[in-house]
Structure formats: structure tokens, C-alpha cells
Amino acid sequence: MSTVGTMSSNAGGRGSGQSKPIQVMGEILDINRSGSYFILSITAPGIAEFAQPGQFVTVGMGGEETSMVLRRSFAIHRVQSRGVYGGSLDLVVSPVGKGTTWLASRKRHDQVSLVGPLGKPFTLPTQAVSCALIGGGYGSAPLFLLAEKLRERGCRVDSIIGASSDDKLFGGLDLKRVSSSLTVTTDDGSSGIKGRVTDVLDATIDAGGTDIIYACGPMPMLARVAEIATTRKIFSQCSVEESMACGIGVCMTCVLPVVGDDSITRMVRSCVEGPIFRGDRVRWSDIGTVPPDTFGAPEATGTR
């Protein structure tokens, strides 16, 4: 795979041109509904200006005396680096839990605590290659920013979004504007092709001559995307969603087994080493376990 060698790598991690995360109070400028989701526009001076596609922010829940002690993380959907209010960004909130329901019910001018930009961004090709972008559910949120950057570099962009049903699809219209093609799938057939995003991936690869696959969505979807990419010898980058307590690399809760450059599997933090991982490096079928050959894995007895 020639493109692999030409990726502008951020594998070096810390430093490499990425801005450091900061902690700021943001003001909610607007809240809009999109299907089952809410799009929050929030001022984020010092974050929005430096955010790169695939990075995320964490948002404090419930105010100062909240009983929700953990922040929630959200992929950065869009950024406006200049405006009346300075930089601002858009987050996509799916109100399914206590915290996200609280956030979705905020009003304009409410203040929320933000930390970001966090995590490693998607790496971008240095040449004008053909890219397939795949989003499952609100997993398509970070793809819009990515598609714009890819188009700036002259890349072809073919997008696929999918969800269980029509109301759970996100960002189709926006993506369509920056993509050469957009394919929509739903599990129940309420919109687009009935089936999964991975059912149409092969056809998209064939039609677009895909060199790189970018994906964001639920773990089973990512696992299948990575499998197809690896089988077809296409470089893939997947944005994982692991539950995180801190988002900044100190709590060690968001780990998953990933194979390093030295072929050794380690339990790595998806917040700082990720959330973007090479599809062929994540041990998808072992997520939720510590594979016995992991660095520092317990001896045969007592993983618990």
C-alpha cells in the first residue's frame, strides 16, 4: 500500500504540531434538532481555532454541585474559528443518558465547561488520493470536518452513512455537498438502502478506487470496516468510542488492546493514544478482554 508511507504521521504523539488542550467555559449559542440528535453550537475560544478532524472535547455535566462527577466526550462536528464570539464549535448530542439529556436541554446563553481539543486527529494523506468515509449513527459527526480537509487536498471523497433507522442518520446533506458520492443505509430500510454500511462498502471501494478508509461509529461496525479494509489491503483509520472517565489520559478506564509498531499488544488509552487508531492495529474481537499475550497481562490465573 503506497499511500501508507505518505500519510502525514502523528504517530509520534505529543508535540507533533498539535495544540495542547485547554479548559474553558463555553457559552451555548444555539441548539438545533436533527432527527434524534441535538446540535449544540458553543463558544470555545482557544479550542475551536486549533481543533483538527477526529479530535474531541469533554463537557462538564450538571453544574457545580452536580451528582454527575464525570465529563462526557463528544467528537467535534464543525468549527467556526472566527466569529463575534471568537471560536466556536458544534457538537452532536444523542440524549440517551442522564448527562446527554441534561446537555440537550440547555438553553441559549447557558455556560458549560469544556476541555479540548483532545485526542489524536485523523491523519491526512499528503497526496490527492481516493478516500471513503463511513459513519454509523452520530458517528458521522466528525466526518464533515475531515471531508472538507480532504477536499482541500484534492482528495476524492466517497461517503457512506448508516443507522438503525432514518431518524438516527446524521449529517447526510452536509456530507453530500463535499463528497463525490453519498450512500445511505438503514437497518429497517426507512431511508436509503436497507442494510448496514458495511454491506455497501465493497461497492463503494470498487467504484471510487478507494485508497484510504476513515470510519467512526459503533465498535461492531468499526470491526467489520477494519476487516474489509485489511482484506482488501486498504489503509484504514477508525475512531473508537470507549467510555471515558477523564478524557485527558489520567484515569486508565478507556483502554483497548492495540498492536504497536513493535508487534506487541498493549492496553492503550483511547483518549490520548486514540480515539483514532489504524484499523489493522486494534484487536477488535478482543475488546472487553485482556488478551493473554498483552504486555503485562496477568499469568494464567486470575484476570480479575
Binding site: 495542547k20 488542550p21 485547554i22 479548559q23 467555559m25 462538564g60 457545580e64 454541585e65 451528582s67 454527575m68 462527577v69 464525570l70 465529563r71 455556560q111 465547561s113 476541555v115 470507549e242 467510555s243 472517565a245 477523564c246 485527558i248 489520559g249 489520567v250 484515569c251 486508565m252 478506564t253 478507556c254 483502554v255 483497548l256 498493549r266 492496553m267 490520548v272 475488546i287 472487553g288 478482554t289 485482556v290 498483552t294 504486555f295 503485562g296 497481562a297 496477568p298 486470575g302 484476570t303 480479575r304
Partner: protein, 366 residues
């Protein structure tokens, strides 16, 4: 910081300068109070270890300090207490490792870490180069392992104190934690003491999941601990009602956060009552300077900020600032004067020259 001072609610404003998001203003009748941070002596002594501030990070909530550098200057804190280090690298447990609970969280990480050699080469070296005061938390499956880790740290140097995490499973005792028995807790502390410099401050971190925490505190101090860290997490459990299985892969986990704070304050109080001179590092759900003050009044010589870091990465430095304000508002000129102040005799007055202060004490409990 917009969430500067959140702690003065519940205290009537009579006789106290009005509290907003700023430091107290100088007032006529309380001329000695200016901006507390500027003159209040925050230094503390932990059994020979002098720190410029009593606010530390809590083990397991700050990694080895480096990630927090994005949010504040870690050298401004009293010290960094590292995540527990073991002899060998450890992968930790499977996920899910975490569940949020009311005003707290449950975790079951399984002591993931690089092992003491890599820790010394990378993390400790970085902390020392950065000029941080480092308290290294150590863990082990046997008393011997604790001793070996301590011996390696002794050779490495650059360690201000050792915190002994005895709340980890004892391989020789069917996985029961060392902290739940006086003899096993004492054995670990002895092993660490034998392998450390005689002057090295050693703090045993106690579990609240015991019948009598004072008995364990006495045992570890007799075994050579300089002081105690109080408390570790409480053992808890959460069910996932979708899978109808335990929410954590490790089944049980450690409960932390504001939910456990009253338990922690009680433990500090009981140990201080029994052992008037033993250095105590207090921790458990500290979210504000006001919370930290509770521990100090109960007898803590220093406090560690843990789970709150997950909510607010700059919490330790904010709490340090807030604590200074809280002390200043109550007329203290030295942090050390506030330690154990709740244990004072009823008729003791802070400063006879400021008699009306005595009235304020009635309102301090929320």
C-alpha cells in the same frame, strides 16, 4: 477560572466579608484580613517532609502528573502522588473498568502500569526534571514485592515520600486486601521500611472497609509507617440493567468521589482522636477548598484531590487557592493552626483579639 469560589454557601455573611468570585475585600472591622493567599502560610509538615502546600493529587487520579501540566503548573502543588507502581509491567483488567454512580464513580483498573523500572526511567525522571515534589504510591501482591519496589526507589532517589497502597489483593491470603487485617498491613509496612532510607516518610493508605480503622492505623504506625493516608476507595458494585450482569468486568470496584466524603472525614477524625501526633493525609471526594477544610479540621495535615480531577483537570490548584481563602476567612494566618481544630476544647478561642470570630464557628457545618 469562573468556578473560583463555590464554597462559602451555608455560612451566614454576618461579620464575614461578602463572598463573591473574588478574594475577600479588606474591611474595617476585620482589618487583618486582606487577600488570604498573599500572606497565609500554607506550608505543612508530614513527619519530617516539609511541603509548601497541603494539597496533593490522589494516587490513581493524576497518572504521574504529566497530563495535568496542560491545565496548571504542577510544581505549585504540595506534591504529586503517583498512580500505584508495582514491580513488573501490568496490563490491568478488562473493560468496562468504570461506572458513574450518584456523586461518585466505581473503578476497577487493576493497577495498570509500566512497572517500577520504566517508571523510574521515565515518569520519576520527568517529575524530578520538572521540579515537582513526588510521593510515589507503591503496590504489590506480596509483602516482598512491596519491599523490592521500595528498594528500587531507594536506589533511584528523587522520592519525597512513599505511599503504600495496601488496598490491593494479598496473593497469599486468597486475594484479601492487605489493608483489612492488622498483621498483613503491618507486614507490608515493615517490608517497605526495611528497604527504605530510615528517614523516608512512609504513609500507609488505609481502607475504610474495616471494622476498626484505628486498629489498622495503630498497627501500621507500630510497623514503621510515618503516617497514614485516609481513605482508599470503598468496595462497591453496580449492575448493568441492560445486560443484567455486573457493570464492571472486574465485578466489584472502588467507590470514590463526593459520595464517600463523610466516611472519609469520619475516618480522619477517629484516627486523630486516637493518635494526636500521627501525620494524616486526608482524601475522599474533595471537590472544593471548603471540602478540604473539613478534612483539615478533622485532623488531616494534608489532603489529596482525586476523582474531582476527572471532572475538573485543574481542581487541585483551584482547591489549593480556595482552601487558602477558606482559612483566611476564618482568621487563620497559618494552615497548620487549622489542623485538627475541630478537636479543640470548647472554650478555646482562635484569637482573643477577634472575639466575634467565636460566633462564626457555629455556622461552619453545612
Amino acid at each position: 477560572m469562573t468556578r473560583a469560589i463555590i464554597s462559602s454557601q451555608g455560612i451566614p455573611s454576618q461579620g464575614i466579608p461578602s463572598q463573591g468570585a473574588q478574594a475577600p475585600e479588606p474591611t474595617g472591622n476585620r482589618g487583618s484580613i486582606v487577600t488570604p493567599q498573599s500572606w497565609l502560610d500554607m506550608s505543612t509538615n508530614l513527619g519530617g517532609l516539609n511541603l509548601s502546600s497541603p494539597v496533593l493529587t490522589a494516587s490513581g487520579c493524576a497518572a504521574a502528573g504529566r497530563e495535568l501540566e496542560n491545565y496548571f503548573d504542577i510544581t505549585e502543588l504540595g506534591g504529586i502522588v503517583t498512580k500505584s507502581i508495582m514491580l513488573a509491567p501490568r496490563s490491568g483488567r478488562a473493560t468496562p473498568r468504570m461506572a458513574e454512580t450518584p456523586s461518585g464513580m466505581l473503578n476497577s483498573i487493576g493497577l495498570q502500569g509500566p512497572g517500577v523500572d520504566t517508571f523510574i526511567e521515565q515518569d520519576l525522571a520527568w517529575l524530578n526534571a520538572r521540579g515537582a515534589r513526588t510521593i510515589v504510591s507503591i503496590a504489590g501482591g506480596t509483602a516482598e514485592e512491596f519491599g523490592k519496589v521500595a528498594a528500587k526507589l531507594r536506589v533511584a532517589g528523587g522520592v519525597e515520600a512513599i505511599e503504600v497502597n495496601i488496598s490491593c489483593p494479598n496473593v497469599a491470603d486468597r486475594g484479601q486486601v492487605f489493608a483489612c487485617r492488622s498483621d498483613s498491613a503491618a507486614n507490608v509496612v515493615q517490608a517497605v521500611r526495611r528497604n527504605s532510607d530510615g528517614k523516608m516518610p512512609i504513609f500507609a493508605k488505609l481502607s475504610p472497609d474495616v471494622t476498626d480503622i484505628v486498629e489498622i492505623a495503630r498497627a501500621v504506625v507500630s510497623a514503621g509507617a510515618t503516617g497514614v493516608s485516609v481513605i482508599n476507595t470503598l468496595l462497591g458494585m453496580v449492575m448493568n440493567t441492560t445486560t443484567m450482569r455486573p457493570a464492571l468486568a472486574g465485578v466489584t470496584g472502588g467507590l470514590s468521589g463526593p459520595a464517600i466524603r463523610p466516611v472519609a472525614v469520619r475516618c480522619v477524625w477517629q484516627i486523630r482522636q486516637a493518635m494526636p501526633e500521627v501525620p494524616i493525609i486526608g482524601m475522599g471526594g474533595i471537590r472544593s477548598g471548603h471540602d478540604a477544610l473539613e478534612f483539615i479540621l478533622a485532623g488531616a495535615n494534608a489532603v489529596s484531590v482525586g476523582t474531582s480531577i476527572f471532572n475538573d483537570p485543574s481542581a487541585p490548584i483551584r482547591i489549593q487557592r480556595e482552601l487558602s481563602n477558606e482559612l483566611g476567612q476564618r482568621g487563620f494566618s497559618k494552615f497548620s493552626d487549622a489542623v485538627s481544630y475541630a478537636h479543640r476544647n470548647e472554650d478555646l478561642v482562635l484569637d482573643p483579639a477577634q472575639e466575634n470570630f467565636a460566633d462564626d464557628w457555629d455556622f461552619i457545618t453545612e
